[in-house]
């Protein structure tokens, strides 16, 4: 009996292997793409330094995943041991940085989304002689706290770029969806957009850790105010939720977003999304590790005391096809 069952199973498996294969997508396509990527060998023979990175990311965040993959790629090249930790609670984030200082890492990469909370630990690090590079948020505080340099996008500038773009498209009433309460950078984006946009712009707070909540909140807003003609989400995963909300609410609003991912790139190509403002997260992780390596190796500091900007880069339909492949492998 059991043998018969085994035979049946083997036959079905063989049959499905022959007939049931998808010629497109799936795991195998991913493997082919990975094979075409560069090999993972270090290109230098400097000592194996340890670099720790602590961000304010919540669990399972697309954006920070891309930052991490950039940092890891650079770490492989630079023969660096890369450690990563994150917490969306300020006190916890500060304690994590402290843990890396206790570990005596050779370099630190820190985000200053909550600058006041990070002030003391960054000072601790510099006191202990650990070079610090700030990424993504905290351009204003970076120098004062004693960091080597800051890598990221100036959020206000990025917001202003959005406001200008909305004006270019003759929009009248926009909605700015803030998905992380207490993040100064997100507030600055909306404030920047408000400054340059000649129409009306409202902020809407949603809980970014729960996509259904994001969708239903936007939906309710669009239903309540049909005159909204554009929705700007501040993160790639939320653009999709906004699209769903637009459909259910039967709204005509254009959806635009900050940041990129695979879906956003595809939807830019198909015209479902208007434009995306990218700050190139891969570059933030990659450059942070690389600049720390350069500092350890050669005391080089980039930027001449000013932040090294990785954005904003407005991405529209015409760039979408090139970016889609890169987004697919998790680097854009």
């Amino acid at each position: 009996m059991r043998r018969a069952a085994g035979a049946v199973l083997a036959v079905t498996l063989a049959a499905s292997a022959l007939a049931g294969c998808s010629a497109t997508g799936g795991k195998r396509a991913e493997e082919r793409a990975a094979a075409a990527k560069a090999g993972g060998r270090s290109a230098v023979n400097t000592p194996k330094w340890t670099i720790g990175m602590v961000t304010h990311s919540a669990d399972g965040d697309t954006f920070w995943d891309i930052v991490q993959s950039g940092a890891q790629q650079a770490a492989v090249k630079d023969n660096v041991k890369f450690l990563y930790a994150h917490s969306d609670q300020a006190q916890d984030q500060a304690q994590l940085v402290q843990s890396y200082i206790d570990k005596k890492v050779d370099g630190l990469i820190v985000t200053l989304a909550k600058p006041d909370a990070m002030k003391a630990v960054v000072a601790q690090a510099t006191k202990a002689g650990i070079p610090v590079i700030t990424v993504n948020s905290g351009a204003e505080q970076s120098k004062a706290f004693g960091a080597l340099t800051h890598i990221g996008q100036d959020e206000t500038t990025a917001g202003e770029a959005v406001g200008e773009q909305l004006d270019k498209e003759h929009r009248k009433k926009a909605l700015c969806v803030i998905h992380e309460q207490g993040n100064v950078g997100l507030e600055q984006r909306c404030a920047g957009a408000k400054k340059t946009f000649t129409g009306q712009l409202q902020n809407l707070y949603v809980d970014g850790t729960s996509t259904p909540d994001v969708q239903s909140s936007i939906e309710a807003k669009l239903q309540a105010d049909p005159s909204i003609d554009s929705v700007v989400t501040l993160g790639a995963p939320f653009a999709d939720a906004a699209l769903q909300a637009k459909q259910t609410a039967g709204s005509k609003a254009e959806i635009d977003t900050f940041d990129l991912n695979q879906q956003v790139a595809a939807k830019l190509g198909s015209g479902a999304l208007g434009f995306a403002v990218d700050q190139q997260p891969y570059l933030q992780g990659y450059e942070a590790v690389d600049l720390l390596w350069l500092y350890k190796y050669n005391r080089d500091v980039l930027g001449g005391g000013n932040p090294v900007l990785t954005g904003p880069q407005i991405v529209t339909k015409k760039d979408a096809s090139a970016l889609e492949a890169y987004a697919k492998r998790g680097t854009r």
Partner: protein, 355 residues
């Protein structure tokens, strides 16, 4: 108020017949303590990380672990008392943030000395606690429901008020105001002891453990807590003021939130309004690991401290051990389960050996 400790009786006048008056041997006393299991668990976790993570045993690392434990422990002490009293408080996490926000916003808006804000914040958090306890005793609804409501209301109040008053989602900095430095000394200073940077929260925590333990074991109020949590109707029948006890216990949680919140404020100078959500469960976990029963009537303050220590060690130990952060929460959860299992197993063994 206090029942005096039994003094050592002079030999010779011991009434030989009554076994209730016999003094238990110290070992036997130890075996009967609720926190015994958690101490074994804590030692196990400590040894585990000491072996696995080479930087875990450094003085500076241990100071970080202690700080992490104290920020949880300060709240775990009153939460454990409340749980012994048979109730939950789900609003404890965001109440810490509320406490910090009230303090900083009041000082800033009134341009008052930082200590004024600190005082107002104490009154407000005690009022929140009293509200929880009052609602519980008046409505007779389960505390789980009442405090779930308070939790959501406070989350909204934190954000709404901060945005309304300060115009942003974080409170304005009060670092340049009078009284800030002295308040920082009290709530968030650091002492360097033999190469370890010890935070003052550790001292607050120890004092709170001592006071809570004294209340539980040496006062009439302590007996009321155990009685109210063990069987409220029976307690009421023998004249224990159950309502007053529970309201006071909730106010105790308010007091803990005040201390933790002031630490948050004076460590970091500005407070993010959206934080603190989820921490209430961590306090409850710390109390449970420390031997508190979910159903009430059993537990100890020292146990909650050991529970907080286990949580702090696990939390930071994983970082020192360089494990992949994606799995972080899984490891924390697994460690907590193991610690609690070990704890119940040890306690059961202890109870068997006593009988």
């Amino acid at each position: 108020m206090t029942a005096t400790a039994p003094s050592v009786r002079p030999p010779g006048d011991a009434p030989g017949g009554d076994e209730r008056l016999l003094r238990a041997s110290p070992l036997r006393k130890l075996m009967g303590r609720p926190e015994l299991g958690s101490v074994v668990g804590a030692i196990a976790v400590f040894l585990f990380f000491a072996l696995i993570a080479d930087s875990f045993l450094r003085a500076s690392s241990l100071a970080t672990v202690l700080y992490a434990a104290s920020t949880i422990g300060i709240m775990a002490v009153p939460v454990s008392l409340l749980m012994i009293g048979g109730e939950f408080d789900l609003s404890a996490g965001v109440m810490v943030t509320s406490s910090a926000l009230v303090s900083s916003m009041f000082s800033y808006q009134m341009t008052a000395n930082a200590w004024v804000g600190v005082g107002v914040s104490l009154v407000v958090t005690l009022a929140f606690g009293a509200f929880n306890g009052f609602m519980l005793t008046v409505t007779k609804l389960p505390s789980f429901i009442i405090t779930l409501g308070t939790f959501l209301m406070l989350t909204g109040l934190n954000l709404g008020f901060t945005k309304l008053i300060d115009g942003t989602v974080s409170s304005k900095t009060i670092g340049d105001m009078w009284g800030f430095d002295s308040a920082r000394e009290v709530f968030a200073s650091t002492w360097t002891v033999g190469g370890m940077d010890l935070k003052v929260t550790i001292l607050w925590w120890l004092v709170m453990i001592a006071v809570a333990t004294w209340i539980l074991l040496r006062t009439r109020f302590g007996n009321w807590i155990f009685a109210a949590g063990g069987n409220a109707d029976m307690a009421r029948a023998v004249g224990v003021p159950v309502k007053r006890t529970k309201i006071l216990l909730y106010m105790g949680v308010g007091f803990g939130a005040w201390v933790a919140g002031q630490n948050l404020l004076f460590s970091f100078d500005a407070v993010q309004s959206g934080e603190g959500v989820g921490n209430e469960l961590i306090y409850i976990i710390a109390a449970v690991i420390g031997g508190c029963l979910i159903t009430g009537g059993y537990g100890s303050a020292i146990g909650s401290a050991v529970g907080a220590l286990i949580f702090g060690m696990t939390n930071k130990g994983i970082v020192f051990a360089e494990w992949n952060p994606d799995w972080f929460k899984f490891f924390v959860g697994a460690m907590l389960l193991l610690a609690t299992l070990l704890n119940t197993w040890v306690r059961r063994r202890a109870e068997e050996s006593r009988s």
